[in-house]
Every structure is written in structure tokens, then in C-alpha cells.
């Protein structure tokens, strides 16, 4: 057999000198060594299966995701948006990095299909008569975009129509840990790989059970609000749901009102005034069933949840037409199975398990690979960017680079982080508004204004790892084409001319986003992101199972933070892993970043003390530690938050979602001290 034999390969070889030149120049421009990547020649030689996957020409026009848009309610109590979301499964063609370069793979994936409850048309630009999204079930990509306004009532009816038999790789028992075996390739010996000692509920499981989380919303976590304690089972669920489950266990309706800013009444407790309000901004929704969050996001079960408000009105006044040209960019990496990555193909009890999306999935925008956004010279557009990925190789720093080595780049101004506007002082800050690069960990969002240069040209939005390639989780095998999209600037200069807001006229922070420094901090807590049973000896115990404070999530008060309502707290978040960041996310209440310590930086830049007014976030990457597991120099972040408006139960967790599924999560119980009762946590998934 030929040394380079590929069985049944398609011998057609496509050559494209310009593309080859482009790949090399793009890599060079990013300072990426070719030593660890596939050469452009090999990239060109990748087998293409035209019968299954249409070769994707580069720089296809950017296609927006269809939007469900609010409407005025005839009656104040009516919903402003009423949508039916169905979870389905379909075969989809996914562009992957294969052994020889880009290749299409056929994957069976779960996805959201959305329709207005009254089945009216979506008015989606390429097909205004379309009444459901996605337009075709075989298109990979996010679910529909929701566009609402503060004060709106939204009702989303979720129906789980997954047939578990469509996924033979998942265990038929939704209440049992998934299992995987690896074959030693040289001996053929099967070696049990998973669950490797991990147990319910913190193991991969329930792959076909789902629910919805509205990431970035400040609404009640109880009842039909942003409640991730809900399990929406597939039909034919095994074993049958418990007797206390409602008969329609494969359906659920999220129905809540997005609060108006203070001093409006609390929509859940009308006698009370809101203290915090909902930040109008770029938020998102995704599946949040503990045990299958990583897999379902890897399948693509996420989408944009845009909430508009006064901030948007003011920007529109400053830059008329900004809403009309706005772009919503949902970044995803698609796959059909979580990879358990053993150190070798023999695994012993106690060996650490790395988990990841597997290989190096391509980074897609709205399901498209490297699309092109077109602007006029001098035009300003608002781009809402959502990192809807689930693994740490997508912790990336983004910046524009001139195409073909040119210096042709647009100017960007950051205006919001995690869907929360920044203060004018930060808009005028070289580390935020003025920075020409930005960093997104999984779950982060950023809003930027992009101004095209005054002349025609092309630029690429490139990305690179924040530090070196991560050690844990997925081992990134390639860095082919490390850019997200192309900006094409052509046509006549925009008229009338557009200009960025100034520091003077940039929208001011509303009073409810300001922090009253006289408010007492009730409690200071430290949360350690480490391993189960750590510290115990000098090694990672129990398979290196991700944990907080040495405890894996068990759905009880054993792994919960209990906080009094209407209090302020300061937390220190420590990362003991020297091989991975941990993006900390807490539901319902955003927080301010006070300080970041990254021991991976040179000593003079390890500690960053933020300047007031502090930037609000809902997800922050806790830097990896340095040193050894026994003697770590931990990375940490100091935050402060106000636990106001909504008592109830929700969660905090690492947003590398395989870490979350395996136990790096805690319950948060907000208790009203005026009606204090012993917290009674629901049984969580």
C-alpha cells in the first residue's frame, strides 16, 4: 500500500495560487509559525466531496440570522413577543479541520427551529415570506435572533421533539452518565474511557434533555423566568419522568417581563421598585441542562437575545441609521460529540481526563465560514459579537489586519461589554473604547463601532490565542486561516459623513449602573476553581474532575452560595489550574471587575487594577495559574456585585461548558432576610 494512501479518496486536486498566497500571508501577518500548521499546499490537497458538501468559496456575503422582533402590546399585560421554539435533529454538513485540511463532515445535530406563535412571516431579508428559522434544516448555525425592548413581556414555548433514537451514540437513559470506550489502535484492546469514576449529576448525561437560559438577563430566576432548574425531556424519555413531573414534560414555556429601569416597579413584586434594571444590550440564549450543556452548544443550540433601550436610542441619535446597518455576529464551533482526550490510549484510575470539542473546529459566524461584510468608505456600523462557543481554544484576542500584508484596517470603538454599556470614561480608555483589539472568552459579548477607512479596500478580522495554546481541554492542532471574517469596503463614501461619538456626547451611565461607594459590602467571599477533593496530596485527585472549592456540583446546599437579598458583596475568584482559564459566569446579577491578576504576564503587567467607573460584566476569564499543582501561583479576579430585585435560586459556573457539566458549578440561593426561611433548593436536573 502506498505510504500516503487514502482509501477511496477523491483524487480531484484543486489548486488556487491566490488562496495559497493568501493563507501564507495571513499566517505571517498574525505572527503564527508555519511549523505547527498545515502548509497551504496540503490545505489545497484536501479531499473535497462535492457530492455531499458544496465547496465553500471564500468571502461569501454575510447573511443575517432571521429575527423575531417585538411588537407593541394591545393590552399592557399581553406579550410583546410570542415564539414557539422546537428542538429538532438533522444531518448537517460541517466544515472541519481534517487530517489534511478543511473538509466537510456530515454530523447529526440538535438545533432550534423558531416560529412566531401566530406563524406570521419573519421578513428575513433574503426571503421575506419565510415563517421559520432556520430556513433549511441542513444549515448549521445559531437559532433565531430575538429583538426586544426593556419593559417587554416575552413568551417562548419550548418543545423538545428530539427522538433519542436519532442519537445512537447517547445513552438511552437520560439519568445515567454517558459512556465511551477507546480502542488501543495497535493492539485493538478496548479501554473504558468514560465516565471514569464520574457520577450523576456531574457527568455528561441527559444529552437529549434540554431547557433555556437567557444569558445576561436580570429577571427572576424562578417559575417561568430564567429558570435553568427545568428539565424539558425528549418524548420517549427513559426512564419515565418522576410522578411529580407534569404530563407535558417535553414542553415548557418561559414567560417573563424584562424590567424597566429604576424607579419602575419590579415586574414580579409590584410593590417594590427596581434597583438594578436590565442592561439593554447584546445578550444571548442557550441550552442549560446540566450534563449536556457543552454538547448542545457544540451542536449549535444558542442564539442572540438583543434587548434595546435608552442606550440604543441615544446612539441612534448620534449616528442616524445605525440600527438599520447593525450586524449581529454569533460565533460558534460545531461538532457532534464531546471528546474525552486521554493522555494516551491506556487510562488508569486517577488519570486526568481532558474534555473538549475535539480537534480544532472551524470558527463560524452565523453558521458561515469566513463571510464578508461590506461597508461604504467612511461608514460606521455597530457590530454585536457573541462568543457562543464552549471550549477554551476559543479564548481568543481579535484585531483587524490588512489583507495581503497591507495596512488597510478599519477603526473600532468598543461601546459595551457583555451587553452592558461602558461609561464615557472607559469609552475614552486605551484599554477599552480606544483599544484596537478585544478579547472574548466563551460566553463574552462585545459591541463595537466599526468605521471603514475613507478609501476602498479589504481587511480581515483575525484572531489568536491570548497566551500560548492551552494545555488542557482540546489540543488545538492547527491554526489554519486564523480569521473570522473579511471586511470589504467599496462604493461611494458614505454621505453625510459619519463620526464616532465623542467622550462628551457618548451616552452616560444611567444612575442604576453607578455604584454608591457608601453602600456597605456585606460579605467577602473567595471561590477557588480547582479539582474535586483538592487539596489532597500534591496531585489532581479524582481524575482531575473540575470543581469549585474542591466540591463537584451536587444540586444541594453542600455546593451553594447563600446570599441575602439587597446586599453587596465582593468576591475573589481564584484559578488553580495551570492549564486553562475558567470563564466565571453568574446568572441574573452582573458584576463589576475591580482587579485582575494574571501570573502568565510579565511581572510588571501581572496585576491590573481597574479604574472607576468599573466595567460591568457577566462573564470574566479567571487567568490560569503558574507554578505547580502543589504550589500554584493562582490567577485571580476581584469582583463586586449587588444581589438585588430577585430572590430565588440560580447558578454560577465555569463557561467552559465541559467543565460545568462535570461539576464546576454552584447553586446561588438569594434569600430575602425579611422573610427568611431555610433555603429549600430544588432538585436540579
Amino acid at each position: 500500500m502506498n505510504e500516503n494512501a487514502i482509501v477511496n479518496q477523491n483524487e480531484a486536486v484543486r489548486t488556487n495560487p491566490s488562496r495559497r498566497h493568501f493563507c501564507a500571508s495571513a499566517l505571517t501577518a498574525l505572527g503564527v509559525s508555519l511549523a505547527d500548521v498545515i502548509s497551504p499546499e496540503q490545505l489545497e490537497a484536501a479531499p473535497q466531496d462535492t457530492s455531499v458538501c458544496t465547496p465553500t468559496p471564500q468571502f461569501q456575503p454575510f447573511v443575517p440570522v432571521a429575527e423575531f422582533v417585538r411588537h407593541p402590546a394591545a393590552n399592557p399585560s399581553d406579550a410583546n413577543l410570542d415564539v414557539n421554539m422546537t428542538v429538532k435533529a438533522a444531518w448537517r454538513n460541517v466544515t472541519t479541520i481534517s487530517g489534511q485540511g478543511p473538509q466537510c463532515k456530515r454530523m447529526k445535530l440538535r438545533y432550534y427551529e423558531g416560529r412566531y406563535a401566530n406563524n406570521s412571516a419573519l421578513k428575513w431579508a433574503p426571503n421575506p415570506a419565510l415563517s421559520k428559522w432556520p430556513a433549511s434544516p441542513d444549515l448549521p448555525g445559531p437559532g433565531p435572533t430575538f429583538r426586544l425592548r426593556v419593559g417587554d413581556r416575552v413568551r417562548i414555548h419550548l418543545s423538545n421533539e428530539i427522538d433519542p433514537s436519532d442519537f445512537p451514540n447517547t445513552t438511552p437513559d437520560e439519568m445515567a452518565c454517558d459512556s465511551q470506550t477507546v480502542i488501543d489502535p495497535t493492539t485493538g484492546q478496548p479501554v473504558p474511557l468514560y465516565p471514569h469514576g464520574e457520577t450523576m449529576p456531574s457527568c455528561f448525561h441527559g444529552d437529549n434533555t434540554t431547557n433555556l437560559h437567557f444569558h445576561g438577563t436580570h429577571v427572576t430566576p424562578n417559575g417561568h423566568g430564567d429558570n435553568v432548574m427545568i428539565d424539558v425531556y425528549p418524548k420517549g424519555h427513559v426512564p419515565p419522568p418522576p410522578p411529580d413531573e407534569p404530563p407535558n414534560f417535553s414542553e415548557y414555556t418561559n414567560d417573563f417581563r424584562i424590567p424597566l429601569p429604576p424607579p419602575a416597579s419590579n415586574p414580579v413584586y409590584p410593590a417594590k421598585k427596581m434597583q438594578m434594571g436590565q442592561a439593554p444590550g447584546t445578550h444571548w440564549y442557550h441550552a442549560h441542562k446540566h450534563g449536556s450543556v457543552a454538547l448542545q452548544l457544540l451542536n449549535g443550540m444558542s442564539g442572540a437575545f438583543i434587548i434595546e433601550g435608552e442606550f440604543d436610542d441615544e446612539l441612534e441619535k448620534l449616528m442616524p441609521g445605525l440600527r438599520r446597518t447593525e450586524k449581529v455576529l454569533v460565533i460558534q464551533q460545531i461538532g457532534d460529540q464531546i471528546t474525552i482526550q486521554p493522555q494516551a490510549n491506556s487510562i488508569q484510575p486517577g488519570d486526568p481526563l481532558n474534555t473538549c470539542a475535539g480537534g480544532d473546529p472551524r470558527t463560524l459566524v452565523n453558521g458561515q465560514l469566513q463571510p464578508a461584510i461590506t461597508m461604504q468608505p467612511g461608514e460606521i456600523q455597530r457590530w454585536r459579537i457573541i462568543n457562543a462557543t464552549m471550549q477554551q481554544v476559543s479564548y481568543l484576542s481579535y484585531s483587524f489586519i490588512g489583507k495581503n500584508g497591507s495596512g488597510y484596517v478599519p477603526t473600532i470603538r468598543q461601546i459595551a461589554y457583555d451587553g452592558i454599556q461602558i461609561a464615557p470614561e472607559r469609552y475614552n480608555d486605551p484599554d477599552f473604547g480606544l483599544a484596537q483589539q478585544f478579547t472574548l472568552a466563551p460566553a463574552n459579548r462585545i459591541d463595537i463601532l466599526v468605521q471603514a477607512p475613507a478609501t476602498e479596500g479589504e481587511s480581515l478580522l483575525g484572531f489568536k490565542p491570548v497566551h500560548n495554546l492551552p494545555q488542557a481541554g482540546c489540543k488545538s492542532t492547527t491554526t489554519i486561516d486564523p480569521y473570522l471574517l473579511q471586511l470589504s469596503v467599496k462604493g461611494n463614501p458614505i454621505s453625510p459623513a459619519m463620526s464616532f461619538p465623542t467622550v462628551q456626547n457618548f451616552p452616560h451611565l444611567p444612575a442604576w449602573l453607578e455604584w454608591n461607594e457608601n453602600d456597605p459590602i456585606k460579605e467577602a467571599r473567595t471561590l477557588q476553581f480547582n479539582w474535586y477533593e483538592y487539596p489532597k496530596g500534591n496531585t489532581r485527585p479524582h481524575n482531575g474532575q473540575p470543581a469549585i472549592d474542591g466540591k463537584i456540583f451536587d444540586g444541594t446546599l453542600h455546593t451553594a452560595q447563600v446570599v441575602d437579598l439587597d446586599t453587596r458583596e465582593e468576591w475573589k475568584l481564584e484559578n488553580y489550574w495551570n492549564s486553562s482559564i475558567h470563564p466565571f459566569h453568574i446568572h441574573v446579577n452582573p458584576f463589576q471587575i475591580l482587579e485582575i491578576f494574571d501570573p502568565n504576564n510579565p511581572p510588571e503587567t501581572q496585576l491590573t487594577k481597574m479604574k472607576p467607573p468599573y466595567v460591568w460584566r457577566d462573564t470574566i476569564a479567571i487567568p490560569a495559574s503558574t507554578g505547580t499543582i502543589a504550589e500554584p501561583n493562582v490567577g485571580y479576579v476581584r469582583i463586586r456585585s449587588r444581589f438585588v430585585d430577585f430572590p430565588g435560586t440560580f447558578v454560577l459556573h465555569c463557561h467552559i461548558l465541559d467543565h460545568e457539566d462535570r461539576g464546576m458549578m454552584q447553586m446561588v440561593e438569594i434569600v430575602d432576610p425579611k422573610s427568611r426561611v431555610i433555603p429549600r433548593l430544588p432538585q436540579h436536573h
Binding site: I38, P168, N169, I183, T477
Partner: protein
């Protein structure tokens, strides 16, 4: 086809490959290193799948079964996900595994694992 880079190719992003067993016959399959295989039994019979040869050489002693499958319709009619992964950079030459049923009808099949999957090996049907 382009000349492979010295040192071989990096592993691919894996995906799940279904191997159907029907009428006592096991489907031949070509997969990539990093892919998972799920054997799906469509027959009203139990099967145990054992490895027989690797690259033309008999395997002795026979390793434990790759999968034990219950009858169609039973919860164990499908195997768990079985990963074919090469530690480090996989070889340029495909690995060919011949395996079969431990009991009658003793069918055999070929599972080829290589650096890249072949066109046409993907399932054509839609859900």
C-alpha cells in the same frame, strides 16, 4: 495530491460514525482517526463483535469484545461510543481492522481508520 508534510498530519476533528448491522451482515466503514463508531443492531438477535486482524495480521490472543449488542428495540441494541484515536500524530497509512461476530452467522467486516475520511462514506439519509 499534495505531498504530506514531514512528520505526518495532525488529527482531525472527530465525528460520530454509525455502523449498521442488519440481516446478519456488518457494514464496512472507513473513518478518520478521532472518529467514534456506534454499532447499531437492526436484527432480532444478540451479537458480540470481536477483533480478528489488524493490517492483515491475526490478533492473538483475542482482545475483549469491541461491543456486545442486544436485540433491535432493546436499550442495549446500540453500542456506546467507541473512539478510534491515535495518540500523537497518526500514521499516513490507513489501519485496517477486520472484525466479526463471535457467534453465527459469524459475519466479518472491515473498519478502515485513516488520516482523512473518504468521500461517500457519510450517511446519505436525513433525519
Amino acid at each position: 495530491m499534495g505531498k504530506p508534510k514531514k512528520g505526518g498530519f495532525p488529527p482531525s476533528q472527530g465525528s460520530v460514525q454509525e455502523v449498521h448491522i442488519q440481516g446478519g451482515k456488518i457494514e464496512d466503514k472507513t473513518i478518520a482517526w478521532g472518529d467514534w463508531v456506534v454499532w447499531m443492531n437492526k436484527d432480532p438477535a444478540k451479537y458480540t463483535l470481536i477483533l480478528l486482524e489488524i493490517n492483515g495480521k491475526p490478533v492473538t490472543p483475542t482482545p475483549p469484545p469491541w461491543a456486545t449488542l442486544g436485540e433491535v428495540g432493546k436499550p442495549d441494541a446500540n453500542s456506546s461510543a467507541v473512539l478510534f484515536s491515535w495518540p500523537g500524530v497518526p500514521p499516513k497509512t490507513p489501519y485496517v481492522y477486520i472484525y466479526g461476530m463471535q457467534e453465527p452467522p459469524n459475519s466479518q467486516a472491515t473498519l478502515t481508520v485513516q488520516i482523512s475520511t473518504a468521500p461517500g462514506s457519510v450517511p446519505p439519509e436525513s433525519v
